[in-house]
């Protein structure tokens, strides 16, 4: 009797504290705190920051990097990388708009865009996973090739949406119930789906295993090449979806769209705690990384800070956030 009493007494208060400790052990907590700190700071510093309109704006803006970031996150967790996503996100606009102009159908345009993304993913994945060429090299190559092909095809001119389709305008610029923008909706749905996949589906765990230690994964009977190949395809498809949203936001296929996008996304993914060595990190972290960078850009703008100072501040905050995360990890 006394024994069981003492047991329950120990178990009672232990639960919440255990839970809290578990939460603090997670690497995302530092990011979450950084994000909250940023939001509090900007809310105090600028009147126009914490308005419904601005917050929904930022979430909409963040969603492009978020969608692509999920894909890159999945791929980096599997131990590979893709730097061609910026070129691809820009390139998918072309089949999208060209097919739309030809057929008048948004659906066919989107199908064309996704088909292009699929092809790029298949080629990247084939060369990197099956042939075994280092993925940075492969995707650096496709980054140049895709962008160059876009320039060649368009003669370095944007392709306008001649029919001015309302549905095309809406997917990137419209809002559900006037509050939440469609891109944000897409990002939230995809994020939830992929967080579930990574945590609770065997395939998600295979991605972690393959990235964490490919040799071990092979010994456990995984088809490592296939898993990585699929990760490439996922990454390209998500970059393609991001590119479709971008294209709608721009109302056209712009040949320079997505320039430098890969840097932003990879920076957000790494900021989010995903290790470039593979096997470590979470998509929740990626989402936080993207949000931090988006809120930072927006907030600094709201404070009317000059571009040059914005760049300097963003750089310093990135270093501070990652260093903080690292110090916390070491203190553990």
């Amino acid at each position: 009797m006394p024994q069981s009493l003492s047991l329950s007494a120990a178990a009672g208060p232990k639960r919440p504290s255990e839970w809290l400790r578990a939460l603090f052990r997670r690497n995302e907590i530092a990011l979450l705190l950084s994000l909250v700190a940023l939001i509090v700071f900007f809310s105090l510093a600028s009147d126009s920051f914490l308005t419904t309109r601005n917050i929904t704006n930022v979430l909409g803006q963040a969603s492009l990097a978020m969608v692509a970031g999920i894909g890159v996150g999945v791929l980096v967790i599997s131990g590979e990388i893709d730097v061609s996503i910026g070129s691809l996100a820009g390139a998918v606009g072309i089949p999208l708009v060209v097919i739309m102009n030809m057929t008048g159908s948004l659906e066919l345009g989107i199908a064309g865009a996704l088909l292009l993304a699929l092809c790029v993913g298949v080629v990247n994945g084939f060369l990197a996973a099956y042939i075994g060429i280092n993925s940075l090299i492969v995707t650096l190559g496709s980054m140049f090739v895709i962008r160059g092909a876009v320039y060649l095809y368009t003669g370095q001119k944007a392709i306008p949406d001649d029919l001015m389709l309302e549905s095309f305008y809406q997917i990137g610029n419209g809002r559900l119930f006037g509050a939440i923008s469609y891109p944000a909706l897409v990002a939230i749905v995809l994020l939830s789906a992929f967080i579930y996949l990574m945590r609770h589906r065997p395939f998600g765990r295979k991605l972690y295993a393959v990235g964490g230690n490919p040799e071990v994964a092979r010994l456990a009977g995984y088809d490592v090449k296939r898993v990585k190949f699929i990760a490439f395809v996922i990454c390209s498809l998500l970059a393609g979806i991001s590119g479709i949203l971008l294209s709608s936001r721009l109302g056209s296929a712009v040949h320079v769209a997505g320039l430098g996008f890969e840097f932003q996304v990879v920076a957000a993914v790494v900021l989010g705690g995903v290790s470039l060595a593979g096997g470590i990190g979470s998509l929740f972290g990626v989402a936080l990384g993207v949000l931090i960078l988006s809120f930072l850009a927006n907030g600094l703008g709201m404070l009317n800070i000059a571009t040059e100072w914005q760049l300097v501040t963003t750089g310093l905050i990135i270093i501070a956030a990652v260093a903080f995360d690292e110090l916390k990890r070491r203190a553990k």
Binding site: I131, I137, V138, M143, A149, I318, I319
Partner: protein, 326 residues
């Protein structure tokens, strides 16, 4: 790397070369040069060769540092922004002091300081070097406009400043001499000195290196500083070539450098790579770039062709190595 990985016996030169992972690149380079020459004789005119070498020298100088950095297991994406800033500093200090020497020194040292900053952030704060140097790139891009809103002109029209890039030593342009000297020093350091060995060791297994009495942080810091100094030197040469300090220069330069280094076979995971490979990588990329203009091809191919070549060369090397392993 491969020279070092060779079995202890030192075979005949031809044998060693054939075994070497640079053979694919060398063959590629030769094919490219012959191909372009056949369709456009201007390719091997003295003027063009000099123009190519001058361009190569800029990439090679930074590439030498970047190769060492990748071997040590780190990377620096801030070199493009750093070289723009260094060029402005070099020009500005030249203007203010009237001394080209002081200006040059200031530019190079500035680059070194950037390298020191990167190195400290990476080794002390333990920030992943990819993200740390992306951040530094942003800081520098912003910082250079806080430093100067406009391109810094060669106010006193000092000819010595432009001579740094357009001068000759005998028939050879100065930047090429500088690049050759940098390359030779880096090559010897990496290949024949204890320092070079430790750089490989740190990249291959930092814990083992530490247990053996090395300080991985110090070594990495050193390589960051060297890379920074070389970026500063390149910034100086570029500023001299343009006769101005241009705050917007160097956009995308880091990608060219990294593309050349990995084309040369250096591993991103650390512990593997050679400077000879980097040299060939630089030459191939710049010959392609030049050849497309000489052949009057569509300039958009200047993106597509290198993209294909990087993948192709890596693939061929892979095939060669797999055949070797059999």
């Amino acid at each position: 790397m491969s020279e070092i990985t060779q079995p202890a016996k030192s075979g005949p030169v031809a044998g060693r070369l054939a075994n070497n992972s640079q053979i694919v690149l060398l063959a590629l380079l030769v094919v490219l040069c012959i191909g372009i020459s056949l369709s456009a004789a201007q390719f091997y005119s003295v003027e063009n060769v000099i123009a190519i070498l001058r361009q190569c020298s800029l990439v090679l100088i930074v590439g030498a540092g970047m190769t060492m950095l990748l071997i040590a297991g780190e990377v620096d994406l801030s070199v493009g922004a750093s070289l723009a800033f260094s060029g402005c500093v070099a020009m500005d200090v030249t203007n203010k002091t009237g001394s080209v020497f002081l200006g040059a020194l200031a530019g190079i040292l500035f680059g070194g300081l950037v390298g020191l900053f990167n190195g400290l952030v990476v080794t002390r704060l333990k920030v992943n070097s990819l993200i740390a140097t992306i951040a530094t790139m942003m800081i520098l891009q912003g910082g250079v406009f806080l430093y100067t809103r406009e391109a810094v002109q060669n106010k006193h029209q000092q000819p010595a400043f432009t001579d740094i890039s357009t001068g000759y030593l005998g028939p050879i342009p100065l930047p090429v001499i500088i690049a050759a000297a940098v390359f030779a020093c880096a090559y010897v350091a990496l290949r024949y000195t204890t320092l070079g060995r430790y750089i490989y060791a740190v990249g291959a297994n930092a814990k083992a290196a530490r247990l053996s009495g090395r300080r991985p942080e110090q070594l990495k810091l050193l390589v960051f500083v060297v890379t920074g100094l070389l970026a500063g030197l390149t910034g100086l040469i570029l500023a001299s070539l343009m006769n101005t300090g241009q705050p917007t220069a160097g956009r995308g330069f880091e990608l060219t450098v990294i593309a050349a280094v990995i084309l040369g076979g250096t591993s991103l995971l650390g512990g593997r790579g050679t400077l000879l490979g980097t040299l060939l990588g630089v030459l191939i990329l710049k010959v392609i770039d030049n050849g497309i203009i000489i052949l009057r091809w569509d300039q958009n191919l200047q993106m597509i062709v290198p993209g294909v070549v990087i993948v192709l060369a890596t693939y061929l090397d892979l095939v060669r190595r797999r055949a070797d392993a059999r």
